[in-house]
Symmetry: C2
Subunit: 416 residues, 2 copies
Amino acid sequence: MEIRELARLTNEAFKEFLKIGNTKLKNKILLDIAKKIEEKKEFIIEENKKDLENGEKNNLSKALLDRLELNEKRINGMIKALEEIVALPDPVGKIYDMYVRPDGFKVGKMRVPIGVIGIIYEARPNVTIEAAALTLKSGNATILRGGSSAFYSNMALVSVIQEVLKENNVNQYLISYIETTDRKAVDELLVQDEYVHLIIPRGGEGLIRSVVEKSRIPVLKHYKGVCHVYVDDEADLDMALNIVINAKVQRPAVCNAMETLLVNKEVASKFLPIALKKLQELGVELRVDEKTKKFYSENVKDATEEDWYAEYLDLILAVKVVDDIDEAISHINKYGSAHTDSIITKNILKAHKFITEVDSSSVMVNASTRLSDGGVYGLGAEIGISTDRLHARGPMGLEELTTYKWIVYGEGHIRE
Amino acid sequence: MEIRELARLTNEAFKEFLKIGNTKLKNKILLDIAKKIEEKKEFIIEENKKDLENGEKNNLSKALLDRLELNEKRINGMIKALEEIVALPDPVGKIYDMYVRPDGFKVGKMRVPIGVIGIIYEARPNVTIEAAALTLKSGNATILRGGSSAFYSNMALVSVIQEVLKENNVNQYLISYIETTDRKAVDELLVQDEYVHLIIPRGGEGLIRSVVEKSRIPVLKHYKGVCHVYVDDEADLDMALNIVINAKVQRPAVCNAMETLLVNKEVASKFLPIALKKLQELGVELRVDEKTKKFYSENVKDATEEDWYAEYLDLILAVKVVDDIDEAISHINKYGSAHTDSIITKNILKAHKFITEVDSSSVMVNASTRLSDGGVYGLGAEIGISTDRLHARGPMGLEELTTYKWIVYGEGHIRE
């Protein structure tokens, strides 16, 4: 099918669902999908095997093959994710900021779905279920496009979803899938601004840059997470050590892990020897500036300008000694990626200054950057993270998949 | 100056102002601008005369010359607008949705400026002051580009603004102006996505379409206002008549005026003869469908398919008889422009159905579409209206010129 036609059908399905998609129906569909995944477990695992075999033929790395694999445990994980999304409150229809105007009519806002959302993602097939479930629960229609290496797995999951939609008398194009591995199909999707309202790309920086360049539709995304921890001269240094280690080591391959450590010069001699040694013991490679070397120089490399921009996603850390909080903030606003940055300090004035002046989507005081996550923030599941400035910043949950309309209740009110 | 350099300087000014731009300073600047406009009234009027003379030479229409003119009264209007914006609450820094997570750390959101906003507009020079004041009060930096016919007036006003910025030790590029009438400069601005975060075009559909096509930066806009009033079979017909006349006649040239009237067939024989006759008496030309002619046919024209899409901005009205509320909603969602639509009914179930299913940025019950306005809704001044789906819909005031960041206060919290 032509992509334009697929987009048109999905838009039509969205409009139909606007009328019938109440919370009860949405939750029933999600639970039915969970049930059918359980029933069709074997079929899904078989289809997944085709992808794994192709992946082996194509010499995919072990890590990628592992991400691709669907086994009993991962299928149960999908079922659990569906049940969790059912349990989340439905954001659609919420009326808020409603007040009576001096003339006596009421004005307020009501949350409504955004519309048709295109989601472009890479290897993991579980994203198919999670993305479909989150967009459905928020009343949107979706056009999914997963990685070509997961083609059979994704098609199996989408067939389950569409069967459930049909059984519930819902237009199956409410959750559409681009059924070709041709890359041109994505380019074609990105210009359907008449029918598609938002694009969310999830994957590596290359994928996302290519989507942004070609899209005529608004895109919500983050390129990378260059997260900082700044250890202030008034920090509790035990707390700082604990947070720094957690932010770097607990799960280094994710976007909210710390990539650069900034340390105030007043506490550098006390903090750096202990902290850097401990990090090395935990396997972290250090790339440090000249000043840092004065306090700790064992087995460290020299940091280059590129290191301050780097998202290592690995056990590597850039380290810099700064004169004061102003230098730390300037460094973060210049080299950071507006993802998540944290100050460790006991001084409330500095905490407020950092919160105000650091121009990132999540700014923290005395906490690990690893806390920057939809689940940890209490959004439930997250569809992605935005480092853009409009519509949504930081973790995006169900509410961020909605927009609002103004609603007015008059009693014959006119403009005088 | 190169547009890229102007954008870079404005972005720099934005970052500086993030640190110093508290409410007190912002209000002082706005009041200083008001004072200086008062002082420099004669200079401004003289510069405006150059535009008027050029306009006459270029055979501008009387209406355009009138919109261009700055006289004592209009200058006082600008001063009053500034004072009103000073009186509005500052949205920046507002902390909301803050809660304590089970682990004991606090998560919330804080409203922050969007960044650098490009505003592209046409004739009226007072937009220069209002747009600058609204973006400044919300902590943003602005790059203004007015119509070439108002060049001298706008330059005079911008010189006043920049003088005040300098007197307050604020980087004058916080409010920049593209000082050339070359159209290529606008195209150049629209690709500065590294420095500019949002574009707001204000003007005719042609201007806006051209901006959207060329922009690599997100654009908030409305193309047109094809607003509907649907008179339900359970409407209070006196109320309906009053609203219909107000929506069409009170100020027909604006985007929230009604362009199409939909009438339920059950009340058509009672409502149409009275309402259409009255509208004709008030000078309204009628373009009606076949069914309407059964009830009233005096001096009416036949509506064509284009009439249902038309924004007349004039004393012209398209009229259609519909079978029921479903046909009315389908018509609005198909032909409307997602601006403002209103149902007149006493039936609460139909009111809720209309509110839920009409997919417009403002949806009303028993009220005139003319109420769709930032001032009337209580936003204070409005920077524009959005019929887009992301970030802001409907009238946009100060709060819509801000975005948010997540803020987290921990006590040494880490990810377990």
